[in-house]
Amino acid sequence: MGVGLRVPHYKVVIADRPAVDFFEVISENFMVAGGKPLYHLDRVLETYPVVQHGVSLGIGSPAEPDRDYLKRLKALTRRTKTPWVTDHFCWCAAGGANLHDLLPLPYTKEAVARVAERAKMIQDFLELPFALENTSSYLTYTDSTMTEWEFISEIAERADIGLMFDVNNVYVSAYNHDFDPFEFVHSVPHERITQIHLAGHTNLGDYIIDTHTGHVIDPVLELYRHSIELAGPVSTLIEWDDDIPELNVLLAEAERARNVRTTALAARAERKARGAAENAVARPQERYRFERPVPNADAVHGWRQGGPREREATP
């Protein structure tokens, strides 16, 4: 059970070395020449395993993945000794602009072919297991010809890569696009799940934004329980990127998830003991019904993956 390494926690992590199984870092924050970011990363690496998660690959963008970006990413993997590298099923740049967002792809055969081919190439280039994460999305395309879970499953199978399975993103997209999140959770190839992400979000009524702020809500933890019962003992990470609390609050959130994970793994063990398939967890029979609060038109819509950048200390 790990947590995202974020700037406000550097001091306490390096000074106190709290008990954390591993930290996840946003790769791009450390793809720099030197200075404090790499200094702090090296101090964390002295004590903790670190896994790398990226937000800027834009694997589905029109242009081929940038070779310089990949070289710098690979150089960072040598430093962190990450067991795998992850990014997102998304696109980031087109028409000469990098939009710095995890933009959803249309779920089409053309997009499957593009992403699968590149994912395979990237995994070969990095010489490490590579996994892609399902994103939260706020729109759908009329071009789509398959569901999101069909889309990511087909890419993962064709490219032979892992899934970074973000359970909160499943919930957010299901809320935004009116599908049953349990159908998503039960339909992906569970043996390909490399890691699970959990986070809080911001519900604006008409839609939810994946702000990575606040506690993981109970319905997401219920989806998480199903995910672990289906996938087994994969590692889990708590993301908290806005209004970042004290580290002990974040670690308490990780313990909350650990308890759910322990329960789910016990259920698997119990099934195994009585000769049933470990992952024979039933999907809820009734379609999931979302509670939708009154829309809040004044809410701030900003979100940022990976929390604040490390900046010069004042002054």
Binding site: G35, P62, A97, D178, Y207
Partner: protein, 270 residues
């Protein structure tokens, strides 16, 4: 261009629009053909979520990197500056760290800005801080290594400056002003020009600092930064400032001790 790439090019253009998508009937019609929507949000409203985010994310990033510039321009001018900058210089790097790289150059042409010269200086200074913050790490040149070099070698020996060091000449005392703004102290715009030569550098504690240098010391560091060996560098400075030759000779040793102590040098090539 494939159907997918056409869709992405259209969407990238839509997200960079300055005004809300619903205010452009043509774009709304296009969105309704490409975006699904649902019973709570029209297709253009779904697209607008991302357009809004494009501006929020990039504006907040520029505010972080150019906090003092934003303070001295005032809100209205700042918003115009950001809109024009992002409109003509769309973000291209994968990293938001690079977003403001061309702002100091862009702002030179923004003569409509009040206190334009001051704004130009501040933009250059604030970008220098960004560059120095995560520039490559190099161990500082040891005093012993410098002292061990034979005097005759200085005719051709080149001193390499730390990559985490930037030199800039400004027309106003922007470094002191920036500090006050960032510390939320009382500050005022300077009434008159006051040219300064600044060095912005990363110290051994990895914190960032600035110092105001004398004209001669600054000129010497510039020569060294350009790769001129020490003796020719000093000669070039003396030649450009004939009235200060004796000062240069008298202070050169102290400057070197001070520069070395502050980690300005990373290597010497004999």
């Amino acid at each position: 261009m494939s159907d997918l790439s056409k869709l992405q090019a259209w969407m990238a253009d839509a997200l960079q629009r300055r005004r809300a998508i619903e205010r452009d009937p043509e774009l709304v019609a296009q969105a309704r053909g490409r975006i699904g929507g649902n019973d709570r949000m029209a297709p253009e409203s779904q697209l607008e979520v991302y357009r809004e985010q494009f501006w929020l994310r990039h504006t907040s990033c520029l505010v972080e990197d150019f906090e003092a510039l934003g303070a001295i321009t005032g809100q209205e001018a700042w918003e115009r500056l950001v809109e024009e900058y992002l409109g003509t210089h769309p973000p291209q790097s994968f990293s938001l760290r690079d977003l403001g790289e061309t702002l100091p150059e862009f702002i030179v042409g923004c003569t409509w800005l009040p206190r334009h010269d001051l704004c130009t200086d501040m933009a250059r200074l604030e970008w220098a801080y960004v560059e120095v913050f995560d520039a490559a790490d190099t161990p500082p040149l040891a005093v012993d290594k410098l002292a061990a070099i034979d005097e005759s070698a200085w005719q051709s020996a080149r001193i390499e400056l730390s990559p985490a060091l930037q030199l800039l000449s400004v027309g106003y005392p922007v470094a002191a002003l920036r500090r006050k703004i960032r510390l939320h102290e009382d500050w005022q715009l300077p009434d008159a020009a006051e040219p300064q030569h600044l060095v912005v550098y990363r110290g051994g504690d990895r914190n960032l600092h600035h110092d105001v240098l004398s004209e001669l010391a600054f000129a010497l560091l510039l020569q060294l930064q350009q790769g001129t060996p020490l003796v020719p560098a000093a000669e070039a400075v003396a030649s450009a400032h004939p009235d200060s030759a004796s000062t240069l000779e008298a202070e050169l040793s102290d400057w070197f001790q001070s520069f070395t102590a502050r980690g300005f040098f990373s290597e010497v090539h004999v």
